[in-house]
């Protein structure tokens, strides 16, 4: 392991690997990535793999639609040996209350103004897209055919391989245990395998970003929360899009492999606990067999859990802080960090290297100081 680097990235999830790659691709090759387990072993490898552009804030829309462009070309751009398995089967978002219908109308107007050509649908139109959807209590839906999913392990691996080829050092099974500062600035990182001196640390530690910030003495307005998910046996393809309900707090998609993956938001204590529960299995089954009745015949193969790291406005925290010079943050993805990792990498790299980027206003808007200033735009459409 190097003992000196221009930038140290903490976290070998999709976000850390994307940032490392974009730093190197922009000429900053003296970069070290530190990962306590293996690549994508954190939230990235536990996530629902969904890539959606139908969001309710301008920032989330722009981050996700820019990232979707990247996913479309990723195998080629990163010259990946495998396949990131990006598949655009669309997302069907379903509304069950008048309040949700109003929100969806606003969302579609915003999305359309940003080049995301989502459509507002009647229940019958929704049923044409997902014939097995129970539309009994449904009031409306929205659909965008360019939403979809990609394989989180392969996306992370693709960024990591490309970063390594450009000279980035990636150290797995290496745990950060401390951060060294002097006169309000970063001077190094301590790991269980030795120290690295560096003027810049990127906190991309996902559900443990709060722990890393604590090591640096930086206070975050965020918390971690368990989210559970399950997968069924594979069956012949019969559901094109992801189906998502903010009313039931659920999402469900059929993977390219044929299995159905579904998850649900629950009321959870804050923390880093990721045990699976029966209660989830039960409630998930109740909800999904009601929303998508034929799924009742599918056998559950596995269930697992991972961490969301949430901010007060459900948008990530990106960039620097006045609390500590050289401490850069890409955290608080609030359950959608996989799908916006490509743009996050581009913008973080440009910001760290002082380069121009046409979307660099996003970095200003998503700086952590927004919480002190108030005046937040809260993302209404999360599970």
């Amino acid at each position: 392991m190097k003992n000196k680097a221009q930038v140290v990235v903490i976290g070998g999830g999709v976000v850390g690997c994307s940032i490392a790659y974009h730093l190197a691709a922009n000429g900053c090759k003296d970069v070290v990535v530190l990962e306590k387990e293996f690549l994508a072993s954190g939230s990235t490898g536990r996530c629902g793999a969904g890539v959606r552009q139908q969001w309710g804030t301008e920032m989330n829309c722009r981050l996700s639609t820019g990232s979707a462009r990247d996913f479309e070309n990723m195998n080629e751009e990163l010259q990946y040996e495998g396949d990131i398995e990006f598949h655009q089967g669309g997302y069907l978002l379903v509304a069950y209350t008048d309040h949700q219908v109003e929100q969806f109308k606003k969302n579609v107007a915003l999305q359309n103004s940003l080049g995301i050509h989502s459509r507002f649908l009647t229940p019958l139109q929704a049923k044409e897209i997902v014939p097995h959807l129970n539309i009994e209590p449904l009031l409306a839906a929205t659909f965008y055919e360019k939403d979809g999913h990609a394989n989180p392990f392969h996306v992370t691996q693709a960024y990591a391989d490309a970063a390594r080829r450009l000279g980035v050092e990636i150290n797995t099974y290496t745990t950060v245990t401390g951060i060294k500062t002097e006169n309000g600035r970063i001077i190094g990182v301590v790991t269980d395998k030795g120290e690295i001196s560096t003027p810049i640390v990127v906190n991309a530690a996902g559900g443990f970003a709060d722990v890393i910030a604590q090591m640096a003495g930086v206070e975050l307005p965020t918390y971690s929360e368990r989210h559970q998910i399950l997968v069924t046996e594979p069956v012949e393809a019969f559901q094109g899009p992801m189906v998502m309900s903010f009313h039931h707090n659920t999402y469900c998609q059929q993977s390219p492999h044929g299995s159905f993956i579904m998850g649900m938001g629950e009321i959870e204590p804050h923390g880093h606990e990721i045990m699976s529960t029966w209660q989830f299995l039960k409630e998930m089954s109740d909800k999904i067999t009601n929303m998508l009745p034929p799924l009742r015949y599918l056998r559950v193969v596995r269930q697992w859990a991972g961490l969301y790291h949430l901010t007060p406005d459900r948008q990530p925290i990106l960039g620097s802080t006045e609390q500590l010079q050289g401490f850069e943050m890409a955290l608080g993805f609030s359950g959608h960090g996989f799908m916006i990792a490509p743009m996050t990498g581009r913008l973080m790299a440009a910001h760290i290297l002082g380069l121009d980027h046409k979307d660099k206003d996003i970095m200003t808007t998503l700086n952590m100081d927004r919480f002190a200033k108030g005046n937040l735009f809260i993302e209404p459409s999360v599970v």
Binding site: G45, E233, H257, W278, T289, V301, Q303
Partner: protein, 102 residues
């Protein structure tokens, strides 16, 4: 045995993963069952790795020269065999929150 035949030996039958495919990833530095599982789907089939986990450990050991006794033991999740979403939905939960059939 020719090299070709050797490479195409299937190690994980459920997911149809060959020795060549596993070696490709092992050579790229993925030297635990957990990592290989996530990139290749090996051990994720209906038998949940009962047939192939040991074979994969052997492949890692022989390819990397690190004995199995020193290998990282993968997280083993009990397969939830045979339970359908419908059967779970039809169950009632007892006071402890555990489901039991009607």
């Amino acid at each position: 045995m020719s090299n070709h035949e050797y490479d195409n030996t299937i190690i994980c039958r459920c997911e149809d993963i060959s020795r060549a495919e596993l070696h490709k990833w092992i050579d790229q530095g993925l030297t635990t069952v957990d990592e290989l599982k996530r990139l290749t789907r090996a051990t994720m089939g209906p038998c949940q790795g009962r047939t192939c986990r040991q074979l994969i450990l052997q492949e890692i050991a022989s390819r990397t020269g690190v004995p199995i006794s020193e290998a990282k033991i993968p997280t083993y999740r009990q397969p939830l065999r045979g339970i359908t979403l419908g059967a779970i939905a039809d169950m009632k939960l007892d006071e402890e929150g555990k489901p039991h059939e009607e």
